[in-house]
Symmetry: C2
Subunit: 235 residues, 2 copies
């Protein structure tokens, strides 16, 4: 078996993601922040020594990058490419075999409401934001890309988004990212990252300690409503 080089390494990547503990770690790191080995151990629900082995494999394979800081070791996704791969795997995972049983939990509900996806907003909030921006004619999204309109540039700049900075990065400016929970696109790319940053800076959403889920503040509820007429009931 293993007749071609390419599929060998494809299988290796698959095997790395194919373990529950490792998948949980990668998923946690899609929050965009660097996490320590102990935090990842807790998230994955395995002991520190097991985690150590997993992280060594993931780092060795080039999926994670390591930054030592004192007695802590901070792990993060090695590149946006890895984040993109995780996005696409989760997109496929969420569309597969709909008839199967899907228990939903509290933690899951919170993730569905609002969360970070690598470096941008996802969940109902992320999708609602994308819908509002396209609905108002500020942004146009196609299946694989997107642009801001003239009016959109004005609007976004007025809201404190630095479009020039976003545009000059080497990464994509604006692209859709399939939301695994909503099964509809939200906004990724440097514009997506800027939108998330702005919402965090305005304290409209807050990061949580142990999860990729985001808390939408009272402040934020009003802000999204006033600015873009986004209603985020309780849901």
């Amino acid at each position: 078996m293993n007749r071609t080089i390419s599929s060998n390494t494809l299988a290796e990547i698959g095997a790395l993601m194919g373990d529950g503990a490792r998948a949980n770690m990668m998923s946690a790191l899609m929050g965009g922040q660097a996490l320590t080995a102990s935090e990842l151990a807790y998230r994955a629900g395995v002991t520190a020594q097991t985690t150590s082995g997993h992280l060594a494999k993931l780092t060795e394979a080039g999926l994670l990058a390591l930054a030592r800081q004192g007695r802590h070791r901070y792990y993060r996704l090695a590149s946006p490419l890895v984040g993109r791969m995780l996005e696409s795997m989760m997109a496929v995972a969420s569309t597969q075999s709909p008839p199967r049983y899907r228990p939903s939990s509290r933690i899951d509900d919170d993730l569905r409401q609002a969360r970070t996806c690598y470096d941008h907003l996802a969940g109902r909030l992320g999708v609602a934001l994308a819908d509002a921006l396209t609905g108002h004619g500020y942004v146009r999204l196609s299946e694989d890309g997107g642009t801001t309109t003239r009016r959109g540039e004005k609007f976004l700049t007025g809201w404190g988004i630095d479009l020039a900075a976003a545009a000059e990065q080497r990464r994509s400016f604006c692209r859709p990212c399939l939301d695994w929970s909503e099964r509809r696109p939200h906004i990724a790319g440097s514009l997506g990252a800027q939108l998330a940053d702005r919402c965090l800076a305005l304290d409209w959403v807050q990061r949580r300690k142990d999860s990729r889920a985001l808390t939408i503040t009272r402040h934020g509820l009003r802000g999204f409503k006033d600015l873009l007429d986004i209603g985020l009931g309780s849901a």
Copy 2:
């Protein structure tokens, strides 16, 4: 372990791709054609009964679609989303840990020269085509999207590409796809598919029986040279 829903299924997808035989099958199906169970067994290098089990799992998970035809069962990727996932996994696989030993084989060389990637052209040919089209100012590629220029539309239409048909499909018109062998982008999306179709129709490239590799005809060598000044030495 397995504390969140999302990573559970992420792990399931990973585990499916994490087996060498299954990865080889999926990789073979990235050629864009439907293949029978026996053909996939041969490609994966395992017996028919083992293959049967693998295909059942992949189909059950929604990664493959099945079409019965007489006593044959034709399998193909269930959706473009799956193809995109495979692309991104191979892109990550090809950029990981460069220092490691990479034996190169004949079959591998052929794949590197020219092959199909789901439904468009890849390998040195695919990248050279993308380079030529952008170099002549016919196409503009950003990191996550692309467009044709006015001059490009004229050129492509003149070459027999039906741009209107390509544009009206629901899928993306033009986007870069990271080539795992060249580590540089080639052209995907409906434009990419049309380019591949055109090259096949003109008999500039031919499909092979047992591989995703493509043969560039004598005819094609001249055509690529004359039309776009693409040199495809022996390499």
